[in-house]
């Protein structure tokens, strides 16, 4: 659809209103973020670098240039991996700037009918409602289990799908529409001496696609001495919304989550998905103009911890058993690393498992290309990043690849399948590997295999 000049003007005004000038002024253009940025490394173009994007945002916010499709494309081309933030010595909050920029054109930008429909469907109809998500989950689960999947494969119907979806369909784990609460209830007591009360944020995708990981998370936490509460009123963290510029929806979801966990009266909020955890920590920024909610958002954000942080603190209560000796490598989740600053904790936990040798993968801190729905919107770059990642993975000769985020998990699994590594490398969420090490010889955590066949 052709964009009229009027709507570009409107977008320009939005930029002037939305961008935070103080944050923009913090960038001193030193260029230290360039080597960390996947899109710069891939293209070698300044405009595809963090420094370039910030310069564009600044010029737009000052009305120095008018927005156009190339500039919007450049903002969409960004993975939102926030590696630039970790590299930036001046503390420029790039993730927040990116969201401001995207929200400047999210609404006025005339989109094609189909894209508008998809945005409404995902951001407004589906993700805010856990029950609808579960419904979709049960449809997929039925498809996977009923033999339809085999039939479709035999008939070659899937060839009609675009490549990323087709590859995703192949590797999607057995979906489960019931979720962790159905299996474990809403309050699970601590084992042994109680440390504190933790609210579990299960994550909307996690709970459907990785129910088993969620169950293991709760078991590990209780074993470590935490009483776990799973509030039923929690909802999607809003990360996908915020990253896509759907700010109002994100605010709405944030409010719901803050209230849900406040009512549960917990000391910590545990997340096992880097992308969700980092978003929960961003709530104070998201709600910065909502005075009445800001205090609550702040104390909520302070209480958010990645499960690896909580487990490491209680490590003495988690005697891991010896596993078959294996080489393990760890792929950072971008948002866990760059958003939550959790870098060493997962590695330390892995090193503490007897039988495991942790080998660092080259560029483990580089985005794998998953980046929310990036692999659907920009398959070329996503696959290019993924294939490089697989090269680095192969070089480690690891038997096991560990991740800490559902998006990364699926993307990496797709990579393993694509590059024919399926028989050499298995992929696990950190929590599932820890559960494996716990369960050996211990009867209190049921076998992982049990959960696989749920």
């Amino acid at each position: 659809m052709k964009k009229t000049d009027a709507s570009w003007e409107q977008i320009g005004e939005k930029f002037v209103q939305t961008m935070d000038r103080n944050q923009l002024a913090q960038c001193m253009r030193c260029g230290f973020c360039l080597p960390a940025c996947p899109t710069y490394q891939e293209t070698g173009q300044e405009e595809a670098s963090p420094r370039g994007r910030i310069a564009l945002m600044k010029a737009l916010s000052e009305g120095l240039i008018t927005p156009d499709q190339t500039i919007v494309d450049q903002m969409e081309f960004c993975l939102g991996c926030r590696a630039c933030e970790s590299a930036c010595p001046a503390g420029v909050p790039f993730g927040q700037l990116l969201e401001q920029a995207r929200s400047s054109f999210a609404e006025p930008l005339p989109r094609t009918l189909i894209s508008r429909f998809l945005r409404r469907f995902f951001f407004h109809w589906l993700f805010p409602y856990p029950r609808r998500l579960r419904l979709i989950g049960s449809v997929i689960a039925f498809y996977q289990r009923s033999g339809l999947k085999r039939l479709f494969h035999r008939l070659g119907i899937l060839r009609l799908l675009p490549t990323p979806l087709r590859e995703m369909e192949k590797i999607l784990p057995q979906v489960n529409s019931r979720g962790v609460r159905k299996y474990l209830g809403s309050t699970i007591p601590a084992q042994g001496k109680k440390r504190s009360r933790v609210g579990f944020f299960y994550g909307c995708i996690m709970d459907i696609v990785f129910t088993k990981t969620n169950i293991n998370t709760v078991h590990l936490l209780t074993k470590a001495g935490y009483e776990v509460v799973i509030p039923s009123e929690q909802t999607c963290c809003g990360a996908l919304h915020a990253h896509a510029g759907e700010k109002e929806q994100a605010i709405h979801l944030a409010e719901k989550n803050i209230t849900a966990f406040q009512q549960a009266r917990v000391e910590w909020v545990a997340s096992n998905a880097g992308g969700c955890g980092a978003m929960l920590r961003e709530y104070p920024h998201l709600l910065r103009n909502h005075r009445n909610l800001l205090d609550d958002a702040q104390s909520f954000a302070h209480s958010v911890q990645d499960v690896s942080q909580l487990l490491l603190q209680a490590q003495e209560s988690l005697p891991f058993h010896k596993l078959t000796s294996q080489l393990v490598t760890y792929q950072d989740s971008c948002h866990l690393r760059n958003g939550m600053g959790v870098i060493q904790e997962p590695r330390q936990l892995l090193r503490s498992i007897p039988g495991i040798t942790l080998v660092e993968m080259k560029k483990a801190d580089r985005c794998c290309g998953s980046a929310g729905i990036y692999n659907l919107t920009h398959p070329d770059l996503a696959f290019s990043l993924l294939d490089k990642k697989m090269k680095d993975l192969r070089a480690t000769q690891a038997d096991t690849l560990v991740t800490t985020n559902p998006g990364c998990f699926l993307q990496m699994k797709m990579g393993i399948q694509r590059s024919g590594l399926t028989h050499q490398v298995r992929i696990l969420h950190l929590v599932d590997l820890l559960a494996e090490a716990m369960e050996k010889g211990s009867s209190s955590i049921p076998s992982s295999r049990f959960f696989v066949s749920l």
Binding site: R29, P35, G44, E46, E47, A55, L56
Partner: protein, 458 residues
């Protein structure tokens, strides 16, 4: 936007994708790491070979189109800001390391090669390329050569100019100039290689370079010394040199700088010390250990309040990382960070630092000073806000006075960043009218139409 005829001619050379003149591309090449300067070019071009550059330059000559050669755009003198418009030529696509010659101990590469990549590759072979500008993780070798970059190791090993042996460069006419080669000695006529080193893209476009390498030093050790008095730190520097020790780095940090770095990286620096010296020595293990003991003694006799020798490689790296992040950590205090590089003879460091303090108080400007004390290269850094016009005027006055003081003390307005645009007004007071006339004469021989980086240096 480029005129269509010109655009067509250039597109014939590089194709449509590597020539851009839309707002997004132009805006993102309107700046470099220098605060307060910005100007849009008319277009951006990404060449991939020497031949393409030859063709681009002969087209540029024909149309009298200014060419601003750009590496990673990290220079601190606005040297790549296209002040007269024109075409920014980005060299980062030409980034191949062509050869490491282990017999002649040289490396040959394209100009877009990232400095750190060169370091990594040669060090794998037990070789060493010493120049290490603070920006080496992203600066290009072409940028390093065109500004004759320094770094932390300048005192003992010299700077980029001491390593460049040979260059291939394209003149504005499109002609190819070869200077020097893999030879350490060569006095055939004027030293054109050195003329191009530090020429800031105003004489020719460098398309290939050969530098000399050294054997990688066997051992390194670092130490830190705290001082409650600035003069004690300065006299320590003089005493170390007087004792005939040349450490590979001898870095000075004033109190404000220390506080900011500590805040940023939390490595246990003392935030109450007046000054800190960071000293590193490399070489054969025996000799290094001996030097460290002697330097430790000198620090103590010069009233250091605390001396710590790094215990292991990890600690050594941490101490140096602190220094490497200095400028960047400073950037957190105020929105705008103006980093200068006034340089004085080593013996004048204490008077210079004292003068900088006086000037900072006189104009009520926050200035943190750190730098390469061993070679007298200081970095007085103004922390300010570009949006505050009144304050910026005071900053400009303070800087002018700092430059004047440096010259008075027998120093220079720029030790390693180059003149570019930001220091062009001060060049005459540094090199005199005759000096400027000769430089302009040289420029005319290389670039009679004044199309290579016009408006820079003078």
């Amino acid at each position: 936007m480029l005129p269509s005829e010109l655009k067509e001619a250039l597109q014939k050379v590089v194709g449509p994708d590597r020539l851009r003149d839309d707002p997004s591309a132009c805006l993102t090449h309107s700046y470099d790491a220098t605060p307060l300067f910005q100007k849009m070019p008319d277009g951006v071009i990404y060449p991939k070979s020497t031949e393409e550059i030859q063709k681009i330059l002969s087209i540029a000559s024909h149309y009298e189109l200014p060419i601003i050669t750009r590496g990673s755009g990290t220079n601190l003198s606005a040297s790549t800001v296209p002040i007269t418009g024109g075409l920014v030529m980005v060299m980062t696509h030409m980034n191949q390391l062509l050869e490491i010659d282990q017999e002649n101990l040289t490396a040959t590469f394209q100009p877009g090669l990232i400095t750190q990549h060169l370091h990594e590759q040669v060090e794998k072979l037990g070789l060493f390329y010493p120049p290490d500008p603070g920006s080496m993780q992203i600066s290009t070798m072409g940028g390093n050569i065109a500004t004759s970059s320094g770094g932390l190791r300048g005192l003992k090993y010299g700077t980029t100019k001491d390593y460049v042996l040979g260059l291939t460069a394209v003149l504005p006419s499109g002609a190819l100039l070869q200077t020097g080669g893999k030879r350490y000695k060569d006095v055939a006529g004027y030293n054109l290689t050195q003329l191009l080193v530090g020429s800031e893209g105003t004489l020719a476009v460098i398309t290939e370079a050969t530098v000399k390498l050294l054997p990688l030093p066997e051992y390194r050790q670092a130490m830190i010394a705290h001082f409650s008095d600035l003069d004690h730190a300065a006299s320590t520097v003089s005493e170390i040199i007087a004792a005939r020790i040349i450490p590979c780095t001898l870095e000075f940090l004033d109190q404000q700088t220390v506080q900011v770095i500590e805040n940023y990286s939390q490595i246990g620096l003392p935030i109450d010390a007046e000054a800190i010296l960071l000293i590193e020595q490399d070489g054969p293990k025996e000799a290094v250990l001996q030097d460290m003991v002697r330097m430790e003694e000198i620090c103590k006799t010069q009233n250091a309040t605390y001396v710590q020798v790094a215990e292991n490689e990890e600690e050594r790296k941490q101490l140096l990382a602190a220094r490497r992040n200095a400028l960047s950590a400073l950037a957190r205090l105020r929105p705008t960070t103006i980093l200068e590089d006034a340089t004085v003879p080593r013996s004048q460091i204490a008077p210079m630092v004292r003068e900088i303090r006086r000037i900072s108080q006189k104009y009520d400007i926050q200035i943190c000073t750190f730098g390469h004390a061993g070679d007298g290269n200081l970095h007085p850094t103004c922390l300010t806000d570009a949006r505050d016009q009144e304050e910026i005027e005071r900053v400009e006055k303070a800087l002018a006075e700092i430059f004047a003081t440096a010259i008075q003390l027998g120093g220079t307005i720029t030790g390693e960043h180059g003149v570019g645009l930001s220091k062009a007004p001060f060049l005459k007071s540094q090199v005199g009218t005759l000096g400027v006339e000769i430089m302009k004469g040289i420029k005319k021989v290389f670039d009679p139409q004044n199309i290579l980086n016009p408006g820079k240096i003078f």
